[in-house]
Amino acid sequence: MFGLPLETTLLVFGFPLFWVLYLIGFLVVSRGWDKDTTKEDDAS
């Protein structure tokens, strides 16, 4: 694909895809973190 061998295609596009999936997982797992924020933090 794109004139590249398969393993190079995986290197170029696979890792970014992995990090996007990691990001989605992180956003799901951390959705309660806003409870850490105090009123003082909001003010700043």
Binding site: F2, G3, L4, P5, E7, T8, L11, V12, F15, P16, F18, W19, V20, Y22, L23, F26, L27, S30, G32, W33, D34, K35, D36, T37, T38, D41, S44
Partner: protein, 524 residues
């Protein structure tokens, strides 16, 4: 020398200095917390972009492009880890480190280590090691700035170097962390626009991504492989693992980067910052490596691979855009150099001068010491960069490998492992730094086919585990540290009684006295 290029550069410097001045007016330098951590009021987008632009140094425009030019698609192993470096850092230690550092009243990443692993030896070893390595890292940025500016503008290398150093010094002095963070924000956007512009111009010149790859394959098919030119790295998984680790998990061991967690406006900032850091990295990180690879076709007779991106910009872009790209390159260099200088100065004033030389130093004296050291490091760096500049790639790989190896287990275990104690952290830092250093300079990379980052991190991690477990009885983690770790792990605001940092300092001293009495009793 093109007048348009100079106009863009001058405009860029004016904006950067303007931001520094604005940070000063906001009161960033009014006290030590304001100067060193921007008063812990930095929001998610600025946190993400200052973290990313600090981590992405002049290396991205010289070392990364040079590696792509020399080794083809093998270079993308470094980018593959780098894309997620900021996200990993923020998701693994960001939130907890922000809370723990506030409870401890720690203002620098080294002071944080001493309060988590109570011992002056931790601060002395970590502080000295960091000042030395960050000094080296600054050197790489100065060389990158001088070489790049001299090439594009046509002015002499010493003068170009002096201009870059002068501008960095002025705005680092003006506003401290806040000036650095907000100029980083602006510079990260300039970097993104600049590198995307060069990449689009290169792709347009070569007829698109697929056509460029086909042409490279016709020239040398091994350049398209994941094993480098002539398959030189074939089967060397130890080197590949190190390339993946150095700019991904490695970031968690860089004091000048983890300081960003401590300056966040709230622990929850880490979540949104993780999102912005990933978006920015997805676009920015692969581009310099790819431009370096495309330069194989655009500049077949290039002498110095580290000049690949500069030369591509000069050859393909009109003068106005070259000015913008040059500003982007200077942005990458300066956004890292300012953070490195500020951290070096902070560590020297807070962790060495106040802690070991003058415990009664006033905040004004400490800011003066910090600025004095910033000036000294910049001048020494300038002198070395002028006399005998080594390659940017070699310095960055050396400094970042040793930093990551020395501090990664200490920072990660500080928030995640309750058995990580002082002897474990101290031994881990010394062993990790020594192994990475020796691996690099004894030529063990070639003979063992293992990257210094991989061996360094493995040895520091094993040391942390083994020594901590072996010394639990003689050096237990103090109760107040365990309590603070529990609070940092729980989701919710920090209880008011934990916000008195003085209490934490006294608790460390009390624990040390209690240990002394206990040992005295056993001896008696």
């Amino acid at each position: 020398m093109s007048g348009t290029v100079i106009l863009f550069l001058v405009l860029y410097y004016v904006v950067v200095l303007g931001i520094g001045y604005w940070a000063l007016r906001r009161g960033a330098g009014k006290d030590l917390e304001g100067y060193l951590l921007g008063g812990r009021q930095v929001g998610p987008i600025t946190t993400a972009l200052t973290m990313q632009s600090t981590a992405m140094s002049g290396y991205m425009f010289l070392g990364a492009g040079g590696l792509g030019f020399a080794q083809g698609y093998w270079a993308l192993w470094y980018a593959a880890g780098d894309i997620g470096g900021g996200l990993l850092n923020l998701s693994v230690i960001g939130r907890r480190m922000r809370k723990l550092s506030q409870m401890m009243g720690a203002l620098t990443a080294i002071e944080y280590l001493e309060k988590r692993y109570p011992s002056p030896a931790i601060r002395l070893v970590a502080g000295t090691l960091t000042i030395f390595l960050l000094g080296f890292y600054v050197l790489a940025q100065l060389i990158a700035g001088g070489k790049g500016m001299a090439l594009v503008t046509g002015i002499s290398y010493p003068l170009a170097l002096a201009i870059a150093v002068g501008i960095i010094l002025i705005y680092t002095f003006m506003g401290g962390y806040l000036a650095v963070a907000y100029t980083d924000f602006f510079q990260s956007l300039v970097m993104l626009v600049g590198v995307m512009w060069i990449m689009i111009a290169a792709l347009s010149e070569l007829g698109g991504f697929t056509a460029a790859n086909v042409a490279i394959g016709e020239l040398d098919p091994t350049l398209l492989s994941v094993w480098g030119r002539g398959l030189g790295f074939e089967g060397q998984w130890g080197v590949v693992a190190g390339a993946l680790l150095i700019f991904s998990v490695g970031y968690m061991g860089w004091p000048h980067v983890v300081t960003r967690h401590m300056a966040m406006s709230s622990p929850a900032t880490a979540r949104r910052a993780g999102f912005w850091a990933t978006i920015w990295s997805l676009f920015f990180v692969p581009a310099p490596y790819l431009v370096g690879i495309f330069a194989i076709l655009i500049l077949p007779g290039l002498d110095d691979p580290e000049m690949a991106i500069f030369q591509v910009a000069e050859q393909l872009l009109p003068a106005a855009v070259t000015g913008l790209v040059m500003a982007a390159i200077m942005a990458a260099i300066m956004s890292t150099a300012d953070s490195l200088l500020l951290q070096t100065g902070s560590i020297a004033s807070r962790d060495i001068y106040e802690r070991f030389i003058n415990p009664r130093a006033s905040e004004r004296q400490m800011v003066m010491v910090s600025r004095g050291l910033v000036l000294a490091v910049a001048l020494v760096g300038y002198a070395i960069a002028l006399v005998e500049p080594p390659t940017v790639f070699s310095i960055v790989i050396f400094a970042t490998s040793v930093l990551g190896s020395a501090f990664l287990p200490a920072y990660v275990c500080a928030v995640w492992w309750k058995k990580a104690n002082t002897p474990g952290a101290l031994a881990s830092m010394i062993v990790g730094a020594s192994v990475a250093f020796i691996w690099q300079y004894a030529g063990l990379v070639e003979t063992t086919q293992m990257h210094p980052m991989l061996t360094g991190v493995m040895s520091s991690t094993i040391t942390m585990i083994v020594v901590s477990l072996a010394t639990q009885k003689i050096s237990p983690v103090p109760r107040h540290v365990l309590d603070a770790m529990n609070v940092s792990a729980a989701v919710g605001p920090i209880p008011a009684r934990y916000l008195d940092a003085t209490e934490f300092g006294l608790a460390n001293e009390a624990a040390a006295i209690a240990n002394g009495l206990e040992e005295g009793g056993q001896n008696g």
